[in-house]
Symmetry: C2
Subunit: 250 residues, 2 copies
DNA sequence: CGCCATCTTGAGGTCTATCAATTTCAGTGG
DNA sequence: CCACTGAAATTGATAGACCTCAAGATGGCG
C-alpha cells in the first residue's frame, strides 16, 4: 500500500524496514539496540491471499505476526456454522499475541485482504523479555491495548442496538486509520461486519441503509465516508479513550 | 474464606502468604528470589465491602490488584444507565492489568462480595520486568489468559441465545472454581449475571427457570448445583480450552 | 413479625433473525 | 462495447427472541 517507510534507514539490506519496529515506535522511542533485537527476531515477509489462514485454531500457537500491509482478523467458527470475529487487525499491528498463553489456539487468524506479514516464533517473546525489559513492557502494553478493544466490543455487542453498534464500529475504524479523514477503507463485506458485531448480514444492510438515509454516511464498495461524524458520535456515545496508542495519533 | 495457604512458609511475618505468589505458582514454579521480589512489591491487604469501588473509571489506572479473597468484577456504566460486566475475578487472580496501558481507566473495578485485595503500584510492573524476565513473561501470560476469557465472552454474547449463554457462563464458573465439584458459589444476583451476559434480569430469571425445569441445575441463593453437566456442555458446546491456566487445574 | 431486596410470572411490544426474491455491481470473455 | 456471471447488497414478509412494564411471590434479616 504505502511506499516503504523510512523509519530505520539501512538497518538491514534484506527487509525494507521492519514493521514491528514501526509499530513499537508508535508506543515509545526505541534505541538502536532495541530496533536491532526486534528486527533480528522477525522472520521473512510472507504473502497471503484473502481468506487464507495464517494460523489455525486447534493447534498450539507457535507464532505471532506483525502485519506489514493489508487487513486480517481473528475469527472463531462455531459448530453450527456461525462465525464471530474477535478482533480486526490493521497494517502495523501485532497479531496473535493473545493466543501465546494457551496450549491450543482458540481462533483462526485469517487474511481479509491480500496481506504481507512477518512471523515471529513464540520463543522470540521469551528472548525479548530476557534481553530487553523495555521491549517486554511494550509487548505487554500492546496486548493491553488489544484487550481494551475487545472490552469495548463486548459493551457494543452486549448493550447497544444495531444502529449504535454500527456507528461505533465505523468510528473506531476511522480513528484507527486516520482520525483526520472522513473517508476510510473498509475491505469487509456486510456478512463479515455482521460477524464482528453479532448481527446478521441482512440486518447490517438495513441498518447501514438507515444511516445512509439520514445522510450520515456514504457507502462505496470497499470504502466508506462519514458525512456527519458528530451525529454518529452522539448516536453511540463514542469515546475514543479506549483506543490508547492503537490509533494513529491525533 | 480459606485458611491461610501454606505456599511460602515464613517468607515474611507480616502477610499470611502472598496471594500473587500463589497465583503465579499456578502458572509456573517460582524460585525464592522471584517470590521475594513479588512479595516485596505487594502492598498491604485492603478490605472492601460489596459494591465498593477499588478503582474508578476515568482516572489514570495507578494500580493493579491481586485478589486474596472474595469476588470482584470489571464493570462499565453507560450514560443511559445500562451496565456491562466485562470480567469477573475470583480469589487468587490478578485484576486491572488490562487498564495499565491506557491513559485513563475505562471500567470500574468493583467488589461483588466482601473482598481482600493487595494493591500494586503501576511502577511495580516495570520494576519486575527489569529484574526478572521470567516474571515479566508470567505477567504477560496472565493478561493473555484474561483476554482468552474476554474473547469467549464475545462469542457467547454475540452468537449464542440466552439458554446457551447461561449454560456457558455456569460451566465457566464451575471450571474456574473447582472442576470436580458440581456445586459452585455464585454470589451474583440475576441482575448482575444479566449485565455480564448482555441479558435483562427478567430474562435471566426465565432462562434459569427453564434450565431448572429440565432438571439440569438447582439454584440456591448464593450457590448453584449443576445436576446434569453433560447436558449443559452439549447445549452450549462448551470447550474449556480457552481457560488455559486460569482454572484450578483439573 | 415486617421490611426490603430479589426473584418470579404475565402480557404486550420492539428488535433482530430467517427465508426468499430481486437488484446492483465488478469482473470476465466474447 | 456489450452480454454474461457470481458475489454482494437490497428489500419484503414472517417468525422468534428478548425487553419492558407491572404485579405478585419469596426469602433473608433485623
Amino acid at each position: 500500500m504505502s511506499p516503504p517507510a523510512e523509519t530505520s534507514p539501512g538497518v538491514e539490506g534484506a527487509s525494507p524496514g521492519s514493521c514491528i519496529v514501526d509499530q513499537f515506535q508508535r508506543l515509545a522511542t526505541l534505541d538502536e539496540d532495541e530496533c536491532a533485537l526486534l528486527a533480528a527476531l522477525e522472520g521473512e515477509i510472507q504473502a497471503f491471499e484473502p481468506d487464507q489462514v495464517l494460523q489455525a485454531a486447534g493447534h498450539e500457537a507457535s507464532h505471532f505476526f506483525s502485519l506489514q500491509s493489508g487487513w486480517a482478523c481473528a475469527i472463531r467458527l462455531l459448530p453450527d456454522g456461525q462465525r464471530q470475529v474477535l478482533d480486526i487487525f490493521l497494517p502495523n499491528q501485532i497479531m496473535g499475541l493473545h493466543e501465546l498463553g494457551l496450549p491450543t489456539a482458540q481462533s483462526d487468524l485469517v487474511a481479509i485482504t491480500e496481506v504481507q506479514a512477518c512471523a515471529f516464533a513464540r520463543d522470540a517473546l521469551e528472548e525479548v523479555c530476557r534481553r530487553s525489559p523495555r521491549l517486554s513492557e511494550l509487548f505487554f502494553l500492546s496486548l493491553a491495548g488489544e484487550q481494551a478493544t475487545l472490552s469495548e466490543r463486548i459493551i457494543n455487542i452486549g448493550r447497544r442496538p444495531a444502529s449504535q453498534r454500527l456507528a461505533h464500529f465505523l468510528l473506531e475504524m476511522q480513528m484507527r486509520q486516520d482520525p483526520s479523514r472522513s473517508t476510510i477503507d473498509l475491505p469487509m463485506n456486510q456478512s463479515l461486519i455482521g460477524d464482528a458485531l453479532g448481527l446478521s448480514a441482512v440486518h447490517v444492510s438495513r441498518t447501514l441503509g438507515e444511516l445512509r438515509d439520514r445522510g450520515w454516511i456514504e457507502t462505496n464498495s470497499k470504502r466508506m465516508t462519514l458525512l456527519d461524524r458528530d451525529a454518529l458520535i452522539e448516536l453511540c456515545d463514542f469515546d475514543p479513550g479506549y483506543l490508547g496508542t492503537r490509533n494513529r495519533q491525533a
